[in-house]
Symmetry: C2
Subunit: 283 residues, 2 copies
């Protein structure tokens, strides 16, 4: 398994692989890999000749009061997980390599970046879109894999790739959950045992939402209300938002129909968690 730290070397490697006609699958990560990431890597392994994983904690997508500094970093462990999954190459650049002094260029996907998580994280999705575009240009993948857990991110990346005619296919892979239903996240390791117990209610609220919709409920407000009531039973949780939005354009729904993302964010103690559910083909 190759470990490449510079843009120049990575681009030379990508170019050589393309010339050899290798189909490349790319999994962008911020490290602190868990089963969610591994499911993306396994899917990339299955679909491609070559699998490249990037590990880069992108400063651009953290707000000034967010957890950039304390975000978990453990390259050795991540690299051994990648090796187990037969990853061909890890791209592991320093911040200075990705954002040299005097960096000036940013990509905005307008209208999709301000809803949901964008409200409390201004600039976050601009940082995500920008780093993903850079990584695509560096790695030149045929396929790139993202987790459904970051639903808004997936919608934005898909839209950016389509709008800018990027020659890459975006694959969105189902969320991986622990035995209690909690969506896997690198930030789960911030949680105490008690907080982790309480956080279960988030996925329970999404299950409740699905039951309600399956049972014929079409009022977005009513579904959100019932979810809120359930989550509020846990005093350690502070809801940031519960939203039912169109799965393509993230516009809030009044009446549930078509394809709908039910998304939520909540703070459990100091840790911000997100989760979501997609319901398709509601008539």
């Amino acid at each position: 398994m190759l470990i490449i730290r510079t843009v120049q070397k990575m681009q030379a490697y990508s170019k050589e692989m393309r010339r050899k006609g290798k189909r490349t699958g790319f999994v962008p990560t911020m490290g602190a890999l868990h089963e969610g990431h591994l499911s993306l890597i396994r899917r990339a392994r299955k679909d491609n000749d070559l699998v490249v994983v990037s590990i880069f904690v992108n400063p651009c997508q953290f707000g000034p009061r967010e957890d950039f500094k304390k975000y978990p970093r453990n390259f050795k462990h991540d690299a051994s997980l990648c090796k187990n999954e037969r990853v061909d190459c890890i791209f592991y650049p320093a911040v200075q390599e990705m954002y040299p002094g005097n960096y000036k260029t940013f990509i905005s996907v307008e209208g999709l970046s301000d809803a949901l998580c964008g409200k409390s994280r201004p600039g976050h999705f601009r940082g995500v879109a920008t780093v993903v575009a850079k990584l695509f240009n560096i790695i030149q993948p045929d396929n790139a894999y993202f987790g459904q857990k970051d639903a808004q991110q997936s919608v934005i990346i898909k839209k950016m790739a389509a709008d800018l005619n990027m020659p890459v296919s975006i694959k969105v892979i189902p969320t991986v959950r622990d035995k209690d239903g909690l969506a896997l996240s690198s930030r789960n390791r911030y949680l105490s045992v008690r907080e982790k117990q309480d956080a279960k209610v988030l996925s329970q609220a999404l299950k409740l939402a699905r039951l309600l919709v399956d049972g014929g409920q079409r009022s977005a407000q009513r579904v959100a209300e019932r979810m809120k009531q359930l989550i509020q039973k846990k005093k350690s949780l502070k809801i940031e938002y519960i939203s039912l939005v169109d799965a393509d354009n993230l516009v809030p729904l009044t009446r549930i129909s078509g394809s709908c993302i039910i998304a939520l964010a909540a703070k459990v103690g100091k840790t911000r968690l997100i989760d979501n559910l997609i319901i398709r083909g509601v008539s």
Copy 2:
């Protein structure tokens, strides 16, 4: 010579050419081709196996009161000029092909887009950067050719390509002038005979600037003053700006040193013209 009108076909062609190991030179244009464009095409022809020219009047880079609708379009003539220069392929998409309904993604190069022409053309360089990124993703060139006449555009495109790690080399080719020194521009055809006579003074002012700097003048303000005095002798000209800026970051200079762009914009009747001069290695 191929003429391709859809993104999908163009990307398929580019992919095939890359697989064959062809080195591609790309010249993005808005059509209305003149000797300036042809000099870019000839340079591309010299440096590459394959030459692709795009002809696309990009609505995104025109302001609401600018000349998008009346911008000269003559595809037949442009195509015959391209054929004469042994262009391999013209990419000639419709607006709807490049910007389908619901288009949302834009690229900004911050700090370079507000100076010089950016002041009077808000959003212009965002539109330029965005369409160029799209064209690069569609055509996947090894080299892309831009005219020095659009000095600010060249600096912005170079910065965008570097910041976003685009795998393309940006080549900036000297301005082509008519026998009177007037920089060639598709907009020159808006000028009356008299206006064209008067517009000569713009390149004369740049020549004067070079003489002054060669003679030891290092005060940007003094050089700009002298240029202004010369241009103001022509009553049909209205100066928009005369600026001496750093050639890399477009920051206005007080004292001329290093590499400097002397740039100007003026209205001649209703037609807005720009011109510039780069002076390198001033000590």
